[in-house]
Amino acid sequence: MGRKLLLANIDVPGIRGFDAYRAHGGYAAVEKALRGMSVSEVSAEVNRSGLRGRGGAGFPTGLKWSFLDRKSDKPRYLVCNADESEPGTFKDRYLMHHLPHLLIEGLIISSYALGVNTCYIYIRGEFKYIVGILERAIREAHQHGFLGENILGTGFSLNIYVHPGAGAYICGEETALLESLEGKRGNPRIKPPFPAFKGLYGCPTVVNNVETLATVVPIINMGGDEYARIGRGKSTGTKLISASGNINNPGVFEIEMGLPVEDFIYAPEYCGGIANEKYLKAVIPGGSSVPILPADLMLNTAKGEKRLMTYESLADGDFVSGTMLGSGGFIVYDEDQCIVRNTLNLTHFYRHESCGQCSPCREGTSWMEKVLYRLEHGEGKMSDIDLLVRVAKNIEGNTICPLGDAAAWPVASAIRHFRGEFEYHVKHPEVVKNVHHGALKIEKESLIPDSGTGVNYW
C-alpha cells in the first residue's frame, strides 16, 4: 500500500465539514504558508516538488506559475478547472465530494503564492450537487477566518466563487473555460496570447486542475523536497487514478507514481484483477483521449521493461507502442469487449462535444463517427479502415485546441493495435450485426496482437 497524501483522511466521519477536517490537520498548511513563508518561498516549494499538472497534459505547475505576468497592474486570477468531463475520469468529483476543504486549502495557498485575491472554481454543470458542498465549505472557511479579508491577520485577502458551467466537455480546455466563465460561448481562444498574460477578463490568469491545487497542501505540509522523493524521476508524488471497466474494484485510488501497471490492475488493494475471471484485453490508461494499448504492451514496454504508472513510462515508445498518463482515467477492457464498438462510442462523444469552431475537428469528428458506425454495424469496407487513419492524421495537430488530437488519438491507436478486429468487422458483417460483445472471441486465435514481446495474456 503506497502513501496517501490526498485521500489519507477520506474515511474520517464528517471530513466534509470544517471541524473534522481541521481536527485532522486541516488548514495547517495555510497557517504554515501565510504566517511563516514568503510568496516566493511557497512557489519555490512547489517548484522543488516537481508537481506536474494533473489535468492531463502533465505540465510542471511551478513553471506554469512562473509564466504569470506579475508586472501587469491588472488584477490576477486563479481559476480552478473542475470541469472534469473526460470519459473514464472521475477523480476530481470524488475529491470535491468528499474533501471540499482540501481544495479550498490548496486554493488559498496557491492564491497566496500567485498574489491572487479572487479565485473561481469553474465546475461542470452536471456536478450540481457538488456546487452546494463547495459553497458550504467556502462559507465555513469564511466563518473561521480562512477566507475573506485579512486572512489570519496577515493582510492577505481572498474570495472564492463557484461557477457552474452548462455541461460542455470543451469548457475543460482552459481558454474555452475562461470564455465560458466570462459568459460567452465556450469556444477555445486562439493562442497566443496565453492566459498567463491575457486570461480571464483580459487579466493574467492561472488555470489549474482540482487535483493539482489540492496537491499543493501536502507539498507545503511536508516540503517540496520530501514530496519529490516519492515517485520516480520526473513523475513525483502521488496521483489519483479513477479505475473503471471490467475490474473487480472500480473506484478512485491514490497511487505513488512508479507503481507497476500490472500491480495496479491485479493487486487486491487497487483494481483487484479482471472481473469474472476473464482476460485483460486492452487498457486506456489516462482518460478516453489517450491512445488505447493492448494488454501485452500495457504491462510491458516494447523494450520488454515493466511499464510503470509514470508520465514517462506510459509514454515510452511514443504513440507507436506507448500512450499517456493523461488525467488518470484508467479504463480496463476484458476479452469480451469490442474495440470497434468502443472506438465508435468514444468518437461519438468527441463528435458531440466538438465546439465546431475549427474545420478539421468539426468535420473530421463527425466523419469518423459515420465511418465507424458503418464498420460497427457490418456495412463497412476495407478502405474505410485506411480512411479512418487518414482522417485521424489530418485532424491531429491541425486544430485550435487539443480536442482534435484527443478525438484522433483513440481512433488511430485502436486501428494501430487492433486492425485485425476492424478487418473482422468488414469480413463478417453478419456476425457483427448480431453480436456486439465478444465477436472477437469467435476468431480469437487469429487476432492475438503480436508485439514481439512474447508475453501472451490471452
Partner: protein, 322 residues
C-alpha cells in the same frame, strides 16, 4: 522592424505583425489563403486552418522549429523567423486535408450559387483541393432562411468562418447574430424573431467567403462574371458612398463594397447604397474596376490588363505547386 523569411523571400515588417500580414506585404504566391481571417474584424481568424504554415525557425534567438503547423493569421512574427508556406510539403498536405474537410458537407451547388466566380472556397479548392470526393455520406442540410428582408442565409454552404458573427458583433450596435449549437450541427442564426435591421447589416454578404449569405436583390439575376464591376460613388449621409457597381450594359445589377486584392472590403457601405440604389442616375460612375485577385472575373478579359500587379489566374500559379 524585424526580419522574417517566408518561402525564402526576406521581408522586413513591424513588430507585432502576423505571419499572414507579413506574407501579404510580399504578395503573390507566398500569401497563404485565408477563409476566416479578416483584417478589419478584430479577433477573427484561426478557425478555418487553411492558412497553416510551417515555422522552420522560431526566431534568431530560439532557432527551434515550432512543433506543429501554426495558423499564420494569428501567429505574430519574431525576429529571424523562417516560415515555409508552399515550399513545405507538410503544409501542402495539411491544406489539402483542410479543403477536404471544408468541402465535406458543402453542397457544391456552384452552378446555382450566386457566389460562384468570386467564391473563396472555389478558389481554394481549385488551388489546393483533391480532384475527387472521398465521402459517400449524405451532406448536412438546413433550410434556407431569411435574415431580414434583404439577406438570404444558405446554412448548407456555410463553412462557419464566424466573419459575419464578428461583423455583427463589432460594427453594428446591437448584436442579433451568432452561432447556435456546437460541433458539426452548429449554425449561424439571428436572434429568434429578430432580423438584422442595422443599417450596415448588408456587409455580412461581402464578408462571407462563400455563398452562405447572399443579396436577395441580386439572387439569380446574373452570373457575376457576366457583369462589369465599376467604381461608383454617391453622396450618402450614412456611409462613404464609395461602392463597386456591377453592371450589364447600362443596367446596375448589384452594388457591393470595394474589395482589395485579398478579398477584403475597403470601406463598409450602408444598406441604403447596397439595396435601394439600383438606378444609373443614383450613381456617379468613375470607371472600370481592377480586380486584382485570382478569380474567374479577373480571368474574363473584359478589361485590358495594364498593371503589373494583376496576378495571373490561379491555374498558372498552381501548376508550379503541384
Amino acid at each position: 522592424m524585424i526580419k522574417v523569411t517566408i518561402d525564402n523571400i526576406p521581408v522586413e515588417v513591424e513588430d507585432g505583425t502576423t505571419i499572414l500580414q507579413a506574407a501579404r506585404q510580399i504578395g503573390g504566391k507566398v500569401v497563404p489563403p485565408a477563409m476566416c481571417y479578416y483584417s478589419k474584424l478584430k479577433g477573427s481568424g484561426g478557425k478555418c486552418r487553411t492558412c497553416l504554415v510551417k515555422v522552420a525557425q522560431g526566431s534568431a534567438k530560439d532557432p527551434r522549429p515550432m512543433p506543429k503547423l501554426v495558423a499564420s493569421c494569428s501567429t505574430p512574427v519574431q525576429d529571424g523567423m523562417v516560415v515555409q508556406n508552399l515550399t513545405s510539403p507538410e503544409v501542402r498536405e495539411a491544406r489539402k486535408a483542410i479543403v477536404e474537410f471544408l468541402l465535406l458537407n458543402h453542397p457544391l451547388d456552384c452552378p446555382v450559387c450566386d457566389q460562384a466566380g468570386e467564391c473563396d472556397l472555389q478558389d481554394l479548392s481549385f488551388g489546393y483541393g483533391m480532384e475527387e470526393t472521398t465521402t459517400d455520406f449524405e451532406r448536412r442540410e438546413y433550410p434556407v432562411i431569411d435574415i431580414g428582408d434583404k439577406i438570404k442565409l444558405h446554412m448548407n454552404r456555410c463553412i462557419l468562418c464566424y466573419r459575419c458573427v464578428y461583423f455583427a458583433d463589432q460594427l453594428t450596435d446591437k448584436r442579433m447574430h451568432g452561432v447556435l449549437f456546437r460541433g458539426d450541427v452548429s449554425e449561424i442564426s439571428t436572434f429568434v424573431q429578430n432580423a438584422v435591421t442595422n443599417e450596415f447589416s448588408g456587409n455580412v454578404i461581402d464578408v462571407c467567403p462563400v455563398g452562405a449569405l447572399t443579396d436577395k436583390t441580386f439572387r439569380f439575376k446574373s452570373r457575376v462574371w457576366f457583369l462589369k464591376p465599376m467604381n461608383a460613388h454617391r453622396e450618402c449621409s450614412i456611409c462613404s458612398g464609395k461602392v463597386a457597381a456591377w453592371m450589364f450594359g447600362n443596367e446596375i445589377y448589384r452594388i457591393t463594397a470595394r474589395k482589395d486584392e485579398f478579398g477584403e472590403v475597403e470601406e463598409f457601405i450602408c444598406n441604403e447604397c447596397r439595396f435601394e440604389k439600383k438606378e444609373l442616375t443614383d450613381w456617379v460612375i468613375e470607371g472600370p474596376r481592377h480586380i486584382k485577385r485570382q478569380s474567374v472575373i479577373s480571368a474574363n478579359h473584359y478589361e485590358e490588363r495594364k498593371e503589373q500587379s494583376i496576378i495571373d489566374p490561379i491555374a498558372g500559379t498552381m501548376t508550379e505547386v503541384e
